[in-house]
Symmetry: C2
Subunit: 224 residues, 2 copies
Protein backbone atom coordinates (compact mmCIF):
# COMPACT_ATOMS: atom_id res chain seq x y z
CA UNK A 1 0.00 0.00 0.00
CA UNK A 2 1.22 3.48 -0.90
CA UNK A 3 2.27 5.78 1.93
CA UNK A 4 -0.29 8.33 3.07
CA UNK A 5 0.39 11.90 1.97
CA UNK A 6 0.53 14.96 4.15
CA UNK A 7 1.35 18.62 3.73
CA UNK A 8 3.95 19.82 6.22
CA UNK A 9 4.31 23.54 6.91
CA UNK A 10 8.06 24.20 6.93
CA UNK A 11 9.13 27.73 7.83
CA UNK A 12 12.86 27.16 7.97
CA UNK A 13 12.81 27.34 11.76
CA UNK A 14 13.72 24.79 14.37
CA UNK A 15 10.17 23.71 15.26
CA UNK A 16 8.83 22.98 11.80
CA UNK A 17 12.05 21.19 10.80
CA UNK A 18 11.49 18.87 13.76
CA UNK A 19 7.87 18.33 12.67
CA UNK A 20 9.01 17.34 9.17
CA UNK A 21 11.57 14.91 10.61
CA UNK A 22 8.86 13.37 12.81
CA UNK A 23 6.33 13.04 9.97
CA UNK A 24 8.90 11.40 7.70
CA UNK A 25 9.96 9.05 10.51
CA UNK A 26 6.29 8.02 10.86
CA UNK A 27 6.23 7.04 7.17
CA UNK A 28 4.25 9.95 5.68
CA UNK A 29 4.90 11.07 2.11
CA UNK A 30 5.55 14.74 2.85
CA UNK A 31 4.78 17.75 0.66
CA UNK A 32 6.64 20.64 2.27
CA UNK A 33 5.06 24.08 2.07
CA UNK A 34 6.68 27.39 2.93
CA UNK A 35 4.76 30.62 2.88
CA UNK A 36 6.41 33.87 1.94
CA UNK A 37 4.17 36.39 3.68
CA UNK A 38 6.43 39.38 3.25
CA UNK A 39 9.06 38.41 5.82
CA UNK A 40 11.89 40.85 6.21
CA UNK A 41 14.54 38.20 5.51
CA UNK A 42 14.97 35.56 2.85
CA UNK A 43 17.17 33.44 5.12
CA UNK A 44 14.10 31.65 6.50
CA UNK A 45 12.87 30.51 3.07
CA UNK A 46 16.35 29.39 2.05
CA UNK A 47 16.61 27.39 5.26
CA UNK A 48 13.18 25.86 4.54
CA UNK A 49 14.31 24.64 1.12
CA UNK A 50 17.47 23.12 2.61
CA UNK A 51 15.54 21.43 5.41
CA UNK A 52 12.95 19.95 3.00
CA UNK A 53 15.63 18.62 0.66
CA UNK A 54 17.86 17.26 3.38
CA UNK A 55 15.06 15.44 5.23
CA UNK A 56 13.52 13.89 2.09
CA UNK A 57 10.24 15.72 1.45
CA UNK A 58 8.82 14.60 -1.93
CA UNK A 59 8.52 18.24 -2.97
CA UNK A 60 8.78 21.75 -1.60
CA UNK A 61 6.67 24.69 -2.73
CA UNK A 62 6.65 28.33 -1.72
CA UNK A 63 3.30 30.14 -1.75
CA UNK A 64 3.47 33.91 -1.76
CA UNK A 65 0.88 35.92 0.10
CA UNK A 66 0.94 39.68 0.53
CA UNK A 67 0.21 40.00 4.26
CA UNK A 68 2.33 43.14 4.27
CA UNK A 69 -0.56 45.01 2.61
CA UNK A 70 -2.23 44.87 6.02
CA UNK A 71 0.72 45.86 8.23
CA UNK A 72 0.18 45.51 11.96
CA UNK A 73 3.13 43.22 12.84
CA UNK A 74 6.82 43.84 13.49
CA UNK A 75 7.54 40.88 11.19
CA UNK A 76 5.94 42.40 8.10
CA UNK A 77 5.62 46.12 8.84
CA UNK A 78 8.93 48.02 8.73
CA UNK A 79 7.44 50.83 10.84
CA UNK A 80 7.19 48.56 13.92
CA UNK A 81 10.46 47.68 15.68
CA UNK A 82 11.33 44.04 16.42
CA UNK A 83 11.38 43.77 20.22
CA UNK A 84 14.61 42.79 21.94
CA UNK A 85 12.94 41.88 25.23
CA UNK A 86 10.70 38.85 25.79
CA UNK A 87 7.10 40.05 25.81
CA UNK A 88 5.52 40.38 29.26
CA UNK A 89 2.35 38.37 28.58
CA UNK A 90 -0.46 39.37 26.23
CA UNK A 91 -0.13 39.27 22.47
CA UNK A 92 3.42 39.90 21.20
CA UNK A 93 4.06 42.61 18.60
CA UNK A 94 5.57 39.89 16.40
CA UNK A 95 2.08 38.40 16.07
CA UNK A 96 1.00 38.50 12.41
CA UNK A 97 -2.78 39.00 12.03
CA UNK A 98 -4.53 35.70 11.33
CA UNK A 99 -1.21 34.16 10.30
CA UNK A 100 -1.89 30.58 11.31
CA UNK A 101 -5.36 30.72 9.77
CA UNK A 102 -3.79 31.82 6.49
CA UNK A 103 -0.93 29.30 6.66
CA UNK A 104 -3.34 26.45 7.32
CA UNK A 105 -5.71 27.63 4.56
CA UNK A 106 -2.82 27.58 2.06
CA UNK A 107 -1.74 24.16 3.33
CA UNK A 108 -5.31 22.98 2.82
CA UNK A 109 -5.26 24.09 -0.83
CA UNK A 110 -1.99 22.22 -1.35
CA UNK A 111 -3.44 19.20 0.47
CA UNK A 112 -6.39 19.13 -1.91
CA UNK A 113 -4.29 19.13 -5.08
CA UNK A 114 -1.89 16.49 -3.70
CA UNK A 115 -4.73 14.31 -2.27
CA UNK A 116 -3.18 14.66 1.15
CA UNK A 117 -5.31 13.70 4.13
CA UNK A 118 -3.50 15.67 6.78
CA UNK A 119 -1.50 18.78 7.57
CA UNK A 120 1.42 18.83 9.99
CA UNK A 121 2.28 22.07 11.73
CA UNK A 122 4.65 23.10 14.48
CA UNK A 123 1.99 24.95 16.48
CA UNK A 124 3.05 25.00 20.10
CA UNK A 125 0.94 25.98 23.07
CA UNK A 126 3.85 26.45 25.49
CA UNK A 127 6.42 28.82 23.99
CA UNK A 128 3.74 30.74 22.06
CA UNK A 129 1.03 30.99 24.68
CA UNK A 130 0.42 34.65 23.77
CA UNK A 131 -0.63 33.74 20.20
CA UNK A 132 -4.37 33.03 20.03
CA UNK A 133 -3.99 30.90 16.90
CA UNK A 134 -1.53 28.44 18.48
CA UNK A 135 -4.07 27.02 20.94
CA UNK A 136 -5.31 23.42 20.67
CA UNK A 137 -8.96 24.58 20.38
CA UNK A 138 -7.99 26.65 17.35
CA UNK A 139 -6.44 23.58 15.71
CA UNK A 140 -9.58 21.54 16.42
CA UNK A 141 -11.74 24.27 14.89
CA UNK A 142 -9.56 24.27 11.78
CA UNK A 143 -9.92 20.49 11.40
CA UNK A 144 -13.68 20.95 11.49
CA UNK A 145 -13.51 23.78 8.95
CA UNK A 146 -11.19 21.80 6.66
CA UNK A 147 -13.46 18.79 6.71
CA UNK A 148 -16.41 20.96 5.67
CA UNK A 149 -14.43 23.18 3.29
CA UNK A 150 -12.93 20.72 0.94
CA UNK A 151 -13.95 18.24 -1.66
CA UNK A 152 -12.76 15.55 0.76
CA UNK A 153 -15.19 16.88 3.35
CA UNK A 154 -18.10 16.23 1.00
CA UNK A 155 -17.20 12.55 1.06
CA UNK A 156 -17.36 12.56 4.85
CA UNK A 157 -13.68 11.83 5.63
CA UNK A 158 -12.31 13.76 8.59
CA UNK A 159 -9.37 15.98 7.68
CA UNK A 160 -6.60 15.97 10.29
CA UNK A 161 -4.19 18.65 11.50
CA UNK A 162 -1.30 17.07 13.39
CA UNK A 163 0.54 19.23 15.91
CA UNK A 164 3.17 16.92 17.35
CA UNK A 165 4.91 19.77 19.19
CA UNK A 166 1.80 21.22 20.81
CA UNK A 167 2.72 20.22 24.36
CA UNK A 168 6.54 20.04 24.10
CA UNK A 169 9.03 22.48 25.55
CA UNK A 170 11.73 23.84 23.26
CA UNK A 171 14.27 21.55 24.96
CA UNK A 172 12.04 18.50 24.35
CA UNK A 173 11.60 19.51 20.69
CA UNK A 174 15.36 19.77 20.22
CA UNK A 175 15.95 16.44 21.98
CA UNK A 176 13.40 14.73 19.68
CA UNK A 177 15.00 16.23 16.56
CA UNK A 178 18.47 15.17 17.62
CA UNK A 179 17.21 11.59 18.20
CA UNK A 180 15.97 11.65 14.58
CA UNK A 181 19.36 12.89 13.34
CA UNK A 182 18.15 16.38 12.41
CA UNK A 183 20.93 18.89 11.73
CA UNK A 184 19.74 22.09 13.42
CA UNK A 185 22.56 23.92 11.66
CA UNK A 186 20.22 23.98 8.61
CA UNK A 187 17.49 25.86 10.46
CA UNK A 188 16.97 29.57 10.97
CA UNK A 189 15.15 31.22 13.87
CA UNK A 190 16.24 34.85 14.13
CA UNK A 191 13.74 37.66 13.45
CA UNK A 192 16.54 40.14 12.82
CA UNK A 193 19.70 38.50 11.39
CA UNK A 194 22.82 40.31 10.15
CA UNK A 195 23.38 40.78 6.42
CA UNK A 196 25.42 37.56 6.42
CA UNK A 197 22.52 35.68 8.05
CA UNK A 198 24.06 35.42 11.53
CA UNK A 199 21.42 35.38 14.32
CA UNK A 200 21.15 38.58 16.39
CA UNK A 201 20.97 36.71 19.71
CA UNK A 202 18.63 39.33 21.13
CA UNK A 203 15.17 38.90 19.56
CA UNK A 204 12.39 36.81 21.18
CA UNK A 205 13.04 33.96 18.78
CA UNK A 206 16.83 33.85 19.37
CA UNK A 207 16.23 33.92 23.12
CA UNK A 208 13.72 31.05 23.00
CA UNK A 209 16.13 29.04 20.85
CA UNK A 210 19.11 29.69 23.13
CA UNK A 211 17.12 28.74 26.23
CA UNK A 212 16.00 25.52 24.50
CA UNK A 213 19.52 24.43 23.57
CA UNK A 214 20.73 25.31 27.06
CA UNK A 215 17.98 23.24 28.68
CA UNK A 216 18.58 20.36 26.27
CA UNK A 217 22.24 20.51 27.33
CA UNK A 218 23.60 20.76 23.79
CA UNK A 219 25.34 23.43 21.74
CA UNK A 220 23.39 25.15 18.95
CA UNK A 221 25.28 24.24 15.76
CA UNK A 222 24.47 27.71 14.39
CA UNK A 223 26.61 29.21 17.15
CA UNK A 224 29.33 26.55 17.20
Amino acid sequence: MAAKSAVVLVSGGLDSATVLAMAIAEGWRCHALSVDYGQRHRSELEAAAQVARSLGAVEHRVARVGLNVFGGSALTDPSIAVPTQPSAGGIPVTYVPARNTILLALALAYAEVTSSEAIFTGANAIDYSGYPDCRPEFIAAFEQLATLATAKGVGGARFRVHTPLIALTKAQIIARGLELGLDYGLTHSCYDPSASGRPCGRCDSCQLRAAGFAQAGVTDPLLA
Copy 2:
Protein backbone atom coordinates in the same frame (compact mmCIF):
# COMPACT_ATOMS: atom_id res chain seq x y z
CA MET B 1 -21.51 56.39 18.20
CA ALA B 2 -19.09 55.48 15.43
CA ALA B 3 -20.29 53.05 12.79
CA LYS B 4 -19.24 49.45 13.19
CA SER B 5 -16.51 48.29 10.80
CA ALA B 6 -16.59 45.28 8.54
CA VAL B 7 -14.39 43.77 5.87
CA VAL B 8 -16.28 43.07 2.65
CA LEU B 9 -14.84 40.64 0.12
CA VAL B 10 -15.28 42.32 -3.27
CA SER B 11 -14.27 40.28 -6.29
CA GLY B 12 -15.50 42.63 -8.97
CA GLY B 13 -18.42 40.33 -9.73
CA LEU B 14 -22.14 40.91 -9.49
CA ASP B 15 -22.70 39.07 -6.20
CA SER B 16 -20.03 40.74 -4.06
CA ALA B 17 -20.92 44.19 -5.44
CA THR B 18 -24.47 43.58 -4.21
CA VAL B 19 -23.13 42.51 -0.81
CA LEU B 20 -21.11 45.74 -0.51
CA ALA B 21 -24.17 47.82 -1.45
CA MET B 22 -26.21 45.96 1.20
CA ALA B 23 -23.57 46.37 3.94
CA ILE B 24 -23.22 50.09 3.23
CA ALA B 25 -27.02 50.49 3.21
CA GLU B 26 -27.06 48.87 6.67
CA GLY B 27 -24.64 51.52 7.95
CA TRP B 28 -21.41 49.51 8.14
CA ARG B 29 -18.05 51.23 7.63
CA CYS B 30 -16.76 48.94 4.88
CA HIS B 31 -13.16 47.95 4.18
CA ALA B 32 -13.24 46.34 0.75
CA LEU B 33 -10.81 43.50 0.08
CA SER B 34 -10.00 41.90 -3.24
CA VAL B 35 -7.74 38.93 -3.54
CA ASP B 36 -5.52 38.44 -6.55
CA TYR B 37 -5.02 34.68 -6.49
CA GLY B 38 -3.49 34.36 -9.94
CA GLN B 39 -6.64 34.97 -11.98
CA ARG B 40 -6.21 34.85 -15.70
CA HIS B 41 -7.72 38.30 -16.19
CA ARG B 42 -7.16 41.66 -14.54
CA SER B 43 -10.64 42.88 -15.51
CA GLU B 44 -12.09 41.47 -12.28
CA LEU B 45 -9.71 43.42 -10.02
CA GLU B 46 -10.26 46.61 -11.99
CA ALA B 47 -14.00 46.13 -11.63
CA ALA B 48 -13.55 45.56 -7.88
CA ALA B 49 -11.72 48.88 -7.46
CA GLN B 50 -14.45 50.71 -9.39
CA VAL B 51 -17.23 49.05 -7.39
CA ALA B 52 -15.56 49.87 -4.04
CA ARG B 53 -15.00 53.50 -5.02
CA SER B 54 -18.43 54.02 -6.51
CA LEU B 55 -20.32 52.49 -3.55
CA GLY B 56 -18.34 54.35 -0.88
CA ALA B 57 -16.10 51.79 0.82
CA VAL B 58 -13.71 53.59 3.19
CA GLU B 59 -10.77 51.83 1.56
CA HIS B 60 -9.98 49.06 -0.89
CA ARG B 61 -6.98 46.75 -0.67
CA VAL B 62 -5.74 43.98 -2.91
CA ALA B 63 -3.98 41.05 -1.26
CA ARG B 64 -1.90 38.88 -3.55
CA VAL B 65 -1.71 35.16 -2.96
CA GLY B 66 0.05 32.69 -5.21
CA LEU B 67 -2.61 29.97 -5.52
CA ASN B 68 -1.33 29.25 -9.00
CA VAL B 69 1.67 27.43 -7.47
CA PHE B 70 -0.79 24.65 -6.65
CA GLY B 71 -2.66 24.44 -9.97
CA GLY B 72 -5.74 22.23 -9.99
CA SER B 73 -8.33 24.77 -11.24
CA ALA B 74 -9.31 26.10 -14.64
CA LEU B 75 -9.27 29.59 -13.13
CA THR B 76 -5.61 29.55 -12.14
CA ASP B 77 -4.04 26.70 -14.14
CA PRO B 78 -3.62 27.49 -17.84
CA SER B 79 -3.42 23.76 -18.66
CA ILE B 80 -7.09 23.23 -17.71
CA ALA B 81 -9.71 24.56 -20.14
CA VAL B 82 -12.52 26.81 -18.91
CA PRO B 83 -15.72 24.84 -19.49
CA THR B 84 -18.35 26.26 -21.84
CA GLN B 85 -21.13 23.99 -20.58
CA PRO B 86 -22.79 24.26 -17.17
CA SER B 87 -21.36 21.51 -14.99
CA ALA B 88 -23.57 18.46 -14.54
CA GLY B 89 -23.47 18.33 -10.74
CA GLY B 90 -20.46 17.44 -8.61
CA ILE B 91 -17.56 19.84 -8.14
CA PRO B 92 -16.94 22.18 -11.10
CA VAL B 93 -13.49 22.37 -12.69
CA THR B 94 -13.56 26.12 -11.94
CA TYR B 95 -13.38 25.25 -8.23
CA VAL B 96 -10.15 26.68 -6.76
CA PRO B 97 -8.77 24.47 -3.97
CA ALA B 98 -9.68 25.88 -0.56
CA ARG B 99 -10.43 29.23 -2.16
CA ASN B 100 -13.09 30.46 0.25
CA THR B 101 -11.03 29.30 3.22
CA ILE B 102 -8.12 31.38 1.93
CA LEU B 103 -10.28 34.41 1.06
CA LEU B 104 -11.89 34.40 4.49
CA ALA B 105 -8.51 33.93 6.20
CA LEU B 106 -7.15 37.00 4.40
CA ALA B 107 -10.31 38.94 5.24
CA LEU B 108 -9.80 37.95 8.87
CA ALA B 109 -6.26 39.39 8.86
CA TYR B 110 -7.59 42.63 7.40
CA ALA B 111 -10.42 42.62 9.96
CA GLU B 112 -7.91 42.37 12.78
CA VAL B 113 -5.83 45.35 11.69
CA THR B 114 -8.93 47.49 11.03
CA SER B 115 -10.66 46.41 14.27
CA SER B 116 -13.56 45.10 12.22
CA GLU B 117 -16.00 42.80 13.94
CA ALA B 118 -17.44 41.10 10.90
CA ILE B 119 -16.77 39.90 7.36
CA PHE B 120 -19.32 40.12 4.56
CA THR B 121 -19.08 37.64 1.72
CA GLY B 122 -21.21 36.78 -1.28
CA ALA B 123 -21.21 33.04 -0.57
CA ASN B 124 -24.32 31.55 -2.08
CA ALA B 125 -25.70 28.10 -1.51
CA ILE B 126 -28.03 28.06 -4.53
CA ASP B 127 -26.07 28.92 -7.67
CA TYR B 128 -22.86 27.37 -6.31
CA SER B 129 -24.22 24.23 -4.75
CA GLY B 130 -21.31 22.22 -6.20
CA TYR B 131 -18.74 24.20 -4.20
CA PRO B 132 -18.20 22.63 -0.77
CA ASP B 133 -16.95 25.90 0.73
CA CYS B 134 -20.12 27.87 -0.10
CA ARG B 135 -22.32 25.89 2.29
CA PRO B 136 -23.86 27.53 5.39
CA GLU B 137 -22.19 24.95 7.68
CA PHE B 138 -18.81 25.97 6.28
CA ILE B 139 -19.54 29.62 7.08
CA ALA B 140 -20.58 28.71 10.64
CA ALA B 141 -17.36 26.72 11.08
CA PHE B 142 -15.34 29.70 9.91
CA GLU B 143 -17.07 31.99 12.42
CA GLN B 144 -16.07 29.58 15.16
CA LEU B 145 -12.49 29.41 13.88
CA ALA B 146 -12.27 33.20 13.55
CA THR B 147 -13.49 33.72 17.08
CA LEU B 148 -10.81 31.37 18.39
CA ALA B 149 -8.09 32.48 15.97
CA THR B 150 -7.90 36.14 16.61
CA ALA B 151 -6.98 38.54 19.33
CA LYS B 152 -10.69 39.47 19.44
CA GLY B 153 -11.50 35.84 20.15
CA VAL B 154 -9.39 35.93 23.29
CA GLY B 155 -11.68 38.61 24.66
CA GLY B 156 -14.68 36.36 24.08
CA ALA B 157 -16.50 38.41 21.42
CA ARG B 158 -18.07 36.31 18.68
CA PHE B 159 -16.73 37.14 15.23
CA ARG B 160 -19.43 37.19 12.55
CA VAL B 161 -19.41 36.23 8.89
CA HIS B 162 -22.43 37.73 7.13
CA THR B 163 -23.64 36.01 3.97
CA PRO B 164 -26.67 38.06 2.92
CA LEU B 165 -26.92 36.26 -0.44
CA ILE B 166 -26.74 32.74 0.93
CA ALA B 167 -30.35 31.83 0.13
CA LEU B 168 -31.05 34.21 -2.78
CA THR B 169 -31.38 33.30 -6.44
CA LYS B 170 -29.37 35.30 -8.96
CA ALA B 171 -32.56 37.14 -9.99
CA GLN B 172 -33.29 38.07 -6.36
CA ILE B 173 -29.69 39.31 -5.93
CA ILE B 174 -30.00 41.52 -9.00
CA ALA B 175 -33.39 42.86 -7.88
CA ARG B 176 -31.93 43.78 -4.46
CA GLY B 177 -28.94 45.53 -6.02
CA LEU B 178 -31.15 47.52 -8.38
CA GLU B 179 -33.32 48.62 -5.43
CA LEU B 180 -30.13 49.97 -3.82
CA GLY B 181 -29.17 51.82 -7.01
CA LEU B 182 -26.22 49.58 -7.86
CA ASP B 183 -24.86 49.99 -11.40
CA TYR B 184 -24.17 46.43 -12.58
CA GLY B 185 -22.34 47.90 -15.55
CA LEU B 186 -19.36 48.30 -13.17
CA THR B 187 -19.23 44.59 -12.37
CA HIS B 188 -17.46 41.78 -14.17
CA SER B 189 -18.48 38.12 -14.18
CA CYS B 190 -16.89 36.38 -17.18
CA TYR B 191 -14.24 33.69 -16.67
CA ASP B 192 -12.95 34.13 -20.22
CA PRO B 193 -13.40 37.70 -21.54
CA SER B 194 -12.08 39.05 -24.85
CA ALA B 195 -8.93 41.20 -24.91
CA SER B 196 -11.16 44.29 -24.70
CA GLY B 197 -12.90 42.87 -21.59
CA ARG B 198 -16.16 41.89 -23.31
CA PRO B 199 -17.86 38.87 -21.68
CA CYS B 200 -17.68 35.62 -23.66
CA GLY B 201 -21.35 34.75 -23.04
CA ARG B 202 -20.51 31.03 -22.95
CA CYS B 203 -18.75 30.27 -19.63
CA ASP B 204 -20.64 29.07 -16.52
CA SER B 205 -20.43 32.50 -14.96
CA CYS B 206 -21.78 34.35 -18.02
CA GLN B 207 -24.62 31.83 -18.30
CA LEU B 208 -25.58 32.25 -14.62
CA ARG B 209 -25.50 36.02 -15.00
CA ALA B 210 -27.60 35.99 -18.18
CA ALA B 211 -30.19 33.70 -16.60
CA GLY B 212 -30.34 36.00 -13.53
CA PHE B 213 -30.98 39.13 -15.57
CA ALA B 214 -33.55 37.30 -17.69
CA GLN B 215 -35.41 36.10 -14.58
CA ALA B 216 -35.21 39.56 -13.00
CA GLY B 217 -36.75 40.90 -16.21
CA VAL B 218 -34.06 43.50 -16.81
CA THR B 219 -31.30 44.02 -19.36
CA ASP B 220 -27.69 43.49 -18.25
CA PRO B 221 -26.06 46.92 -18.67
CA LEU B 222 -22.85 45.13 -19.74
CA LEU B 223 -24.67 43.86 -22.82
CA ALA B 224 -26.76 46.98 -23.49
